[in-house]
Amino acid sequence: MMSNTPIISFKDFSFQYNAQKQPTLKHLNLDIYPGEKILICGASGSGKSTIGNCINGLIPFSYMGKIEGSLTVDGIETKDSSIFELSTRVGTVLQDPDGQFVGLTVGEDIAFALENDCVEQKQMIEETFLSAQKVDIHRHLDHAPYDLSGGQKQRVSMAGVLVDKVKILLFDEPLANLDPATGKSAIELIDKIQKESNTTVIIIEHRIEDVLWEKIDRIILLDDGCIISDSTPQQLLTGPLLVEYGIREPLYLTALKYTGVDVSKVEGIDNIKTVRLTEEDKAAVRKWFSMQPKPVLINDNDVILETRNLDFGYTENTQILFDVSLKIQKGEMLAIVGRNGAGKSTLCKLVCGFENPQSGKIFYANEDITDSSIRQRAAHIGYVMQNPNQMISQSMIFDEVAMGLKKSGLSEEQIKERVYQTLKICGLYEFRNWPISALSFGQKKRVTIASILVMGPDIIILDEPTAGQDFRHYTEIMEFLSQLNEQGITVIIVTHDMHLMLEYTNRALVFLDGRLMRDDSGSSVLCNPELINRAALKETSLFAIANMCGIDDPVAFVDCFIAYEKKERSHAE
């Protein structure tokens, strides 16, 4: 299948952004052959998107900088080409689904490239329909973007680059905003397209377990602009590099390592669907499980937040939430999960008073707050939005954090004290006089959390706090939230990350089409195939391992694993 001339070839290639002192990519040598499927991973800022942008021509035609060495794409030297010439060869699907949906309807957006190529209307309509059919969105051609889910929008983006009959498909973090099931079907769809048309596929992604659901030919590991490793998934997974460079390894792999199985000998280790454990291995897993203390989780604290029979819709004709009743206890760390558009964010807005329910009541510490104002509730319940840039309005960290206290009647001194204390908790004290613009995304996120914490809420709600973050930042944020939780603050996290739910929360609320479908521990939720299916979640690979080894209580197995991992982590510190 592979021919001998690479379709993409980096030769001693370096790139330096005009605004940077150092080159971002350093002396890369990399050949990619037609029909290959490549995964690029690496920490935040390691240069993954930069590589992608070099291939599709945004570098150097949109982002200025200095190129050394050579990069050829389909036989063309990119720096002597143009973004238009490259775009007929490379199709790029970016992370932000709204930024690339430029048409007013699905059809228009898919046809966008054809319009720019001056294709006749009749032919354009035919080709648009064909591409839409490939990604199964052809029944929605006249839909506007607000009538589509995140996964559907992504399909539209894919169809939009497929119309150009490109030879190379490039995905930059395609999974970041998708619910687990949609993410899984996106990966399956990419695989299907690649097989049908034999395109070359390059995927940039942090969630490697999810990408490895379908076969990948090679994984490139990047660090600080250099290629650390270029190998098959099998080689990379069984070696030490993932851990060393702070990439999250697949859960089942970690579990097998804990139980003492020699993973380098396991057949088909690069995909949970193909893992073949020997009888010995299985016995080892069972033995490990039987030796673990069984964690017991109980929380019989007072109820701090309660909703009763909430109904809500943004407009009169479309109801979003139906009869939502739930109780949250003081000191819990809780996950809200469910399909894109299930109403998770909407529920949070109701709790914070951003929207008012059509019927039903909300209680804080047994007190009816259904009619309280946003500001009154904010003293008890803090809400952190997903994009920190939507919350930051001051240029200095201190001012940003102090903002919420301005009208609280505290004296300057008291404010200062409170702010410093909060900054210390958030690990930002040493940056207190920095301009916010000098912070990384993860640090900005912490500033926004600090600006909510400073008001002293008992409950803090975070909407997808870790989307698009690499493993190090993910761990940093989640450890920080756990610490807050240990200090008695109730933490509610809306998330699509099943690992987060398992690892850090003691309870999960599963939403489906605006209804609370299940209220249970994360491990029980993820070991329930029927529930998983209906709520668009994804089975944990630990469940598969437990089944494979004939463990009759997979939930307990998952709980043991999580408890063990927590212990390991605290040892590591």
């Binding site: 973004i83 240029s395 040493e430 301009p435």
Partner: protein, 181 residues
């Protein structure tokens, strides 16, 4: 530059959308009964400074016409006033080099002067002449209305636009030598 022209197309569209949203849905009372602070002109002036006269002019014009049309009536003379306002502020954008992260005394003075000139030409001249031709309204009414509009928009644009530009300039400030304390 090719890249720049696409960016300007997008900036025009997004600028117009911002103008529309602020003009149509956001009412911040100004203190004078029944009049609101015209935030949209502040944002338009920011776009004019960041992206130049063409974007300043078209984003305002498109935003204005779209806003009017949802009310069922287009005031062409005022729409042209908005366009001219953005155009003139944009002409001064070369003198306000915000991308370098500076928004100091000279930049502020330039911005204020640009706004003064732009508001005087846009309202009491362009829009007023338009109103007098289209509606043959008495000059004293037109001038009274438009002088008030010019003064109000001048204040809004200078204060809102100025503060926004100041805030923006802070985000591109170079990190320089920052010490942890």
């Amino acid at each position: 530059m090719k890249n720049d022209s696409v960016k300007k197309v997008v900036a025009t569209g997004i600028g117009a959308a911002l103008f529309f949203v602020l003009a149509r849905f956001v009412a911040i009372p100004s203190g004078i009964p029944n009049t609101n602070i015209a935030l949209q002109y502040g944002v338009q002036s920011v776009f004019a400074v960041l992206y130049g006269p063409v974007v300043g002019c078209l984003s305002g014009f498109i935003g204005h016409v779209l806003t009017d049309i949802t009310w069922g009536e287009v005031w062409w003379s005022w729409a042209f006033g908005t366009a001219v306002y953005g155009l003139i502020v944009g002409v001064f954008s070369k003198r306000i080099n915000i991308q370098s992260g500076n928004f100091g005394k000279t930049e502020i003075i330039t911005f204020v002067i640009a706004n003064a000139i732009a508001n005087v030409i846009a309202w009491p001249v362009v829009a007023a002449v338009g109103d007098m031709i289209i509606y043959k309204e008495p000059a004293n009414l037109v001038i009274a209305q438009l002088a008030v509009a010019a003064a109000a928009d001048f204040v809004c644009a200078v204060v809102i636009g100025g503060l926004l530009l100041f805030g923006y300039s802070k985000t591109i400030a170079k990190t320089g030598s920052l010490d942890r304390e």
